[in-house]
Symmetry: C2
DNA sequence: ATAGTCCCTATCAGTTTGATATGTTACATT
DNA sequence: AATGTAACATATCAAACTGATAGGGACTAT
């Protein structure tokens, strides 16, 4: 799943008031992802409304919304659909089917809430701290 | 994923002090699962130690442990491996990789704990209530 | 006009998953 | 001991998904 890396890259690079779109080639190089592959991911992310693209020479991609408002649950839902396998089955025992559906639905909602507590902004923030190590002479 | 249905069937049928193995043919019929397919699932479940089989005329399958001790987390781990996709990527940005690994690890542990609160015994209990509707003249 | 970017579609190889088929091994009953 | 019945094992297949590659079209700042 390169999706998260792509979105993280946009969140990290698109900080502050810059607002300038980021080139895919730039990300592809820094993240060592095949360019043409990354393009697919970008298009997919655009189709689900998580990013927006600008064409032309000064074009590129940027997040469609502020990174604080994009959480893990939303991303994962957009890319993988549901998180737990749906335990629903054609045929199967009716009663068991219903019970499992109930249980899994409840679990999914729980997981969703938990995943929603993490946003792209936090990921970007942590990654920045990681990349720019604190000065040695902090004092 | 028929696995859960299979295990639920064993939990429902193997109640009380019976201890008798359940025939796969019986489950296949009641749950409308292709018999030979169900056999594969049973063998797989045996290989991960969740059920045990008895051969011969009076043979069949039964849970390897009491249903109260078999929880959803254990089952899902045995059948699907990890729940969330591992966000780790060959290449990719080092910092982002590490951050994502941390976050996903934490989330996985959380989900695991949540899933571990549900056992086969509870599923079986609920399914039984569902199958044997309460008498109309309860009063 | 042109270079550089996003955008679209098709294709391919590997993996997984639902599903089928053919057999071999062990046990209980007769 | 022979037989039937069940678990056990292995191979194979088709559809779906995923990582990956390729060829071209559309748009925009310069």
């Amino acid at each position: 799943m390169y999706t998260l890396h792509f979105l993280s890259a946009l969140a990290i690079k698109g900080r502050g008031n810059s607002q300038k779109p980021v080139h895919l080639r730039e990300i592809a190089e820094e993240y060592d992802i095949p360019f043409k592959f990354l393009e697919q991911i970008a298009i997919l992310m655009k189709s689900v409304g998580l990013v927006k693209g600008t064409r032309g020479k000064t074009g590129g991609y940027q997040l469609a919304d502020p990174p604080e408002s994009i959480d893990l649950a939303r991303i994962i839902r957009a890319t993988e659909g549901e998180i737990l396998p749906c335990a629903d089955i054609e045929g199967g025992n009716r009663a068991v089917n219903e019970i499992l559906r109930e249980i899994f639905q409840e679990q999914r909602e729980w997981i969703d809430k938990k995943l929603a507590t993490f946003t792209l902004a936090e990921i970007a923030e942590k990654a920045r701290q990681h990349m720019e190590p604190a000065p040695m002479f902090y004092l």
